[in-house]
């Protein structure tokens, strides 16, 4: 998945491989090709949960805490099927991060996420060429259709 980067993986998640606990066998469907995801969030709790949820569906997931780290990771050659970006990030906010990620050529599905849904924030994200914008929490009901879509 590209260069080795010193990124933050929350507690309990760093058990060796990025695949984590793969439940995809037990689910009604599983990833046909290997899907990958990047979570960009400086909140440890949200990071840990989003990462674990995606990994449980066989999505190879990494996490970083800033937009800058995300841009660096992608610039170094890492590619992701899905990138989930929190609205309020330190230094460079979610939409600015999305903008820069698109500017360096990332073709991933970009999902803006936030604690409080706000139309202005939605517009900002969509203008930055994010594909969608949702309110937390990231749940099964949201993840499953996305994975189906990415698999097709």
């Amino acid at each position: 998945m590209g260069a080795a980067v010193d990124h933050v993986i929350p507690i309990g998640m760093s058990r060796g491989s990025v695949e984590g606990n793969d439940k995809s066998q037990g689910q009604r469907f599983s990833s046909k090709s290997k899907l990958t995801a990047l979570v960009v969030d400086n909140g440890g709790v949200c990071c840990a949960i989003q990462t674990a949820l995606l990994r449980s569906y066989g999505v190879g997931t990494e996490a970083v805490e800033t937009g800058g780290a995300a841009v660096e990771l992608i610039s170094s050659g890492a590619t992701f099927s899905l990138i989930i970006i929190e609205m309020l990030l330190p230094f460079m906010n979610g939409p600015e991060t999305a903008k820069q990620i698109r500017a360096i050529g990332a073709q991933s599905k970009v999902l803006g996420i936030t604690a409080f849904f706000d139309e202005r924030d939605q517009q900002e994200f969509l203008a930055a060429r994010a594909d969608d914008f949702i309110e937390k929490p990231l749940s099964l009901e949201i993840v499953i259709p996305i994975i189906r879509e990415l698999n097709n």
């Binding site: 929350p10 507690i11 309990g12 058990r15 984590g20 606990n21 439940k23 909140g43 440890g44 709790v45 949200c46 840990a48 949960i49 989003q50 674990a52 949820l53 449980s56 929190e86 309020l88 936030t114 604690a115 409080f116 937390k136 929490p137 990231l138 749940s139 099964l140």
Partner: protein, 151 residues
Amino acid sequence: MDVVVQLQRQLADHTASLFHEGFLNDQFNQLQQLQDESNPDFVVEVVSLFFEDSERLLNELAKALEQQAVDYKKVDAHVHQLKGSSSSIGAQRVQGVCIPFRNFCEEQNIEGCLKCLQQVKHEYSLVKNKLETLFKLEQQLIAAGGSFPTL
């Protein structure tokens, strides 16, 4: 009565009341589903992280609201994080108080913010207490040789 059966019943009742009284919602169930042999302590780990994080945020909020010139942008950012994390673990009541809190913040209403801070602290300590009891019951059950369903 068999100790294991007794503990299982206590655990089931306690868990049910947490949902019934609105302390937790389905998101918490989803967390439990992420726990398995390869990730056996996931729920306790993530909830502990939530406790640490919330305590930090509540302290920061208290500090920020004490200032002569309150930085409402900072307050908003903390409330944002608290709502995000509480919604992600399914701590429904804590999440709920964050909504009026954020509104008062937008209005720069200091009294409203202080009231919400007290309320969110209260809801946080209630859910913390109940989750700690939940984990204690689980530990007792395992120690007694029983197990509890994670699905």
